[in-house]
């Protein structure tokens, strides 16, 4: 066998036949990590360095891993899955995922994304201790049995961890709101008024930050870094949109935008207040939130009043103009 393949980090995509041959050999030698280099690059965002680490991490992991039958080819990957449907199901499978083209992943095998997801989820419990840093990710990876070098999969500033956390919180919030909506539809719960509903939704969402509130200010500052803004903005807007959706908003005009903008403002400011709050159980924050929501409700009324006042003023001015015309005798119409 030619060993030249081993040395090439990326190399061109090998043909499946050759890959199969190589993988077979490598399997026999147990050097599974080399197989990964034959894996088609499906995740472009991973920089070269982390990929090497990834490979090494997986190699180290393999030693602890329970041995499964190495599938000879992708078509046999199905049989493997039965044995691994348990707590660590998406754990690393030593089967190569190189395929013909397109890199389709089998559903039962873990994708890289799912792995990252797991690592980040595990890392969250170390955040109170280490902050939103690679250390926390490393610790999390270690609890999953991976090397701490797995943290190299992610960037240095902890953005992925924070974004992952925010995504998780939003999903949790969605589940809560959906459950409540089901209850209302079934008639088991009262439909709440809009301001009450929004207040509870924002409070629920902010309470999810409580375990991490110490390091959250840093997380906020990381979220507004330029390369994170698209993602964080996306998360914020979709959260606000969901809140309004479950609150029952069905507007189709400019109100759609103004409502979401206002709620986003309320959420952000309340979050900032929460960072500074030292009262027991964040009472001040919830009071602040209540006041802002009632302000927002009043703003709607005021806007209507201003509009009607404006209209009345215009009417008054037109009346004055006509009266002036009459007084000066310019009213001699045709």
């Amino acid at each position: 066998m030619r060993w030249s393949h081993v040395g090439t980090p990326h190399g061109s995509l090998p043909t499946s036949k050759m890959a199969a041959a190589v993988s077979g050999f490598l399997r026999r030698t147990g050097w599974r990590f080399l197989r990964l280099q034959c894996r088609p690059v499906t995740r472009c965002q991973l920089s070269p360095m982390p990929r090497a680490f990834h490979a090494s991490a997986l190699a180290l992991k393999s030693s602890d891993e329970q041995k499964y039958q190495p599938p000879p080819a992708s078509s046999q990957q199905h049989s493997e899955s039965q044995g691994t449907e348990e707590p660590n199901p998406e754990s690393f499978r030593s089967n190569p995922r190189y395929t013909d083209q397109g890199g389709e992943e089998d559903e039962d095998h873990e994708s890289e994304e799912q792995l990252q997801h797991r690592i980040l989820t595990a890392a969250l419990e170390f955040v109170p201790a280490h902050g939103w840093t690679s250390e926390a990710i490393a610790e999390g990876a270690q609890t999953l049995g991976l090397s701490s070098a797995a943290a190299g999969m992610f960037g240095n500033d902890g953005s992925e961890l924070i974004l992952h956390f925010v995504t998780q919180c939003n999903a949790k919030l969605n589940r809560v709101m959906e459950k409540e909506q089901k209850l209302v539809q079934l008639g088991q719960a009262e439909k709440r008024k809009t301001d009450q509903f929004l207040r509870d939704a924002v409070e629920t969402r902010l309470r999810m930050l409580i375990p991490y509130v110490e390091h959250w200010p840093r997380a906020l500052s990381i979220l507004v870094l330029p390369h994170n803004i698209p993602a964080s903005l996306n998360l914020l807007t979709s959260m606000v949109d969901d809140m309004w959706h479950y609150a029952g908003d069905q507007s189709t005009d400019i109100n759609w935008y103004t409502r979401r903008a206002v709620l986003a403002g309320i959420y952000n400011t309340t979050e900032l207040v929460m960072m500074q709050d030292s009262s027991p159980d964040f009472e001040d924050t919830w009071r602040f939130l209540e006041n802002r929501i009632s302000d927002a409700m009043n703003m709607g009324h005021t806007a209507k009043q201003v509009k009607s006042t404006g209209e009345a003023l215009v009417q008054g001015m037109m009346g004055a103009a006509v009266t002036l015309k009459n007084l000066t005798g310019l009213n001699q119409r045709r």
């Binding site: 009417q315 037109m318 009346g319 006509v322 009266t323 009459n326 000066t328 001699q332 119409r333 045709r334």
Partner: protein
């Protein structure tokens, strides 16, 4: 001429009982109308004081001798045949100008035969200072007359009954719609204004005069914009018995911060009260015990509670200056009479507001009276402005009738509008300004109005101008 008139009337009212063949060429006059409809020259909508006076004035006008006039009143005929013993609590102050108008068609004589009270002088003073102003015409001529509204209505109705040929009066005629002709004449539609009553009757008219009060249906049907706002005040009216009989030819008005209180003479022993104050206070006054009510009135006229030393000294300072410059003293300050009794069941209240119709006329429509303007009673000008509208409109319509013009044409209606708006808008604005100026106890404004009142009192020509304007 008479034959011509009869022919005209025949043509205009083809459905009349004159019989005779209908001329085929004139089918458009009758055919499109459906049910027969009388065409009037002028229809006055609203039978209040101003509406009835308008109909009367038109009916007695020499140039309207051959014209048909209709007066529509939504309510029943409320005029009593005999003058009641007790005085009514709604009175109006009639200026000499209005009296002239009323006498032009003979209603004033009826009023004189019933009852009225002329007054020679008017004293107006402030509650927050010693400043006052006294209007009098050297005690020779009457400045104005206080007449009950019922007496005026009765006199006007008597005069209307004297001309049944010219003026037709329909009571209980609630109007449900007015329709105006389109801008262009065509053979399909009638060129006159259509009026539909609640009971289905229809009239057509060449000129519709809206005299139907502050919530005018004519004004809203014509689409004329009305600038109005309510004052936060209600006026309490009552008939009061004075403690002792006096000559009682002075009208008293005191500006309290809550609103002006006025005592108008009705007879040697009776006066009429008009007290404009906040809604809550007005309700209190109407429902409180008679004793408390009288105490409230007396203290309103006599109490010095709102005086402040600063204002008093400032006022007396200017007073010294005035007496120094003008040694001939103007009329001395008099004290208002005190009241002893309230006429039974004579207390009532009504809300106050301001209203101004931006346009008084539209093609074939004219507004007069409260439909065109609504003012605070502190100046006693409300009905007088309406009578002024009548004299102006009569003047223009009379000219138009003499010239043979179409009565509903805009050329003379706009002249009426310009003339009256120049007078009325100024008066409405001045009254509103006075009301706002006198409803505060804020020292700079009190000082301003104290000095202003004293200065106006001192300058005789200015006072005469004011009196002349208000008497028109």
């Amino acid at each position: 001429m008479a034959a011509c008139c009869r022919l005209t009337r025949f043509l205009v009212v083809p459905g009349a009982t004159l019989g005779g063949p209908r001329l085929p060429g004139l089918r458009w006059l009758s055919g499109s109308m459906g049910t027969e409809q009388a065409v009037y020259d002028v229809v006055v909508a609203g039978g209040g004081m101003v509406g009835t006076a308008m109909a009367c004035a038109l009916g007695h006008n020499i140039h309207f001798r051959d014209k048909k006039i209709l007066l529509l009143e939504a309510g029943p005929n409320k005029v009593a045949t005999k003058l009641p013993e007790t005085y009514s609590n709604r009175v109006s102050s009639i200026t000499p100008g209005s009296a002239t108008l009323l006498s032009s068609f003979g209603a004033w004589d009826h009023i004189c035969n019933m009852r009225y009270k002329p007054f020679r002088r008017m004293q107006v003073w402030d509650a927050c200072s010693e400043a006052l102003i006294i209007f009098d015409k050297d005690d020779l001529d009457d400045m104005g007359y206080i007449v009950e509204n019922d007496v005026i209505m009765s006199a006007l109705t008597k005069q209307l009954d004297a001309i049944p040929d010219q003026v037709e009066v329909v009571y209980r005629s609630k109007v449900i719609s007015y329709t105006w002709p389109g801008p262009f004449c065509n053979t399909e539609n009638s060129p006159w204004v259509q009026i539909t009553l609640a009971d289905g009757r229809q009239f057509q008219t060449k000129l519709l005069i809206g005299a139907d009060g502050q919530n005018s249906g004519v004004r809203s049907a014509a689409g004329i914009q009305n600038v109005c706002w309510p004052y936060d005040q209600s006026a309490v009216v009552a008939t009061l018995h004075l403690s002792e009989p006096t000559e009682n030819n002075v009208a008293w008005q005191r500006f309290l911060p809550s609103g002006p209180i006025a005592l108008l003479p009705l007879s040697d022993t009776l006066s009429s009260l008009v007290w404009s104050t906040s809604h809550e206070h007005a309700k209190e006054l109407v429902s409180m015990e008679e004793e408390n009510f009288l105490d409230a009135i007396n203290s309103a006229f006599w109490s010095d509670a709102n005086h402040t030393d600063f204002i008093d000294s400032a006022g007396s300072m200017l007073q010294y200056a005035v007496t120094f410059l003008q040694p001939t003293k103007s009329s001395a300050r008099q004290l208002p009479p005190s009241v002893a009794k309230v006429g039974p069941k004579s207390r009532a209240l009504f809300p106050l507001g301001l209203g101004h119709a931006v346009e008084y006329v539209r093609p074939r429509v004219a507004l007069i009276g409260d439909a065109a303007h609504r003012v605070h009673p502190l100046a006693g000008q409300g009905v007088n402005m309406g009578f002024g509208d009548i004299s102006s409109l009569i003047h223009h319509l009379s000219r138009a009738a003499f010239d043979g013009k179409d009565l509903g044409s805009m050329c003379h209606l706009t002249k009426y509008e310009t003339e009256r708006q120049r007078h009325n808008v100024f008066l409405i604005a001045a009254t509103d300004l006075l009301k706002r100026l006198y409803s505060t106890t804020f020292s700079p404004l009190v000082l301003l109005r104290t000095w202003g009142l004293q200065a106006t009192n001192a300058v005789l020509p200015l006072k005469e101008q004011i009196m002349a304007f208000a008497s028109k």
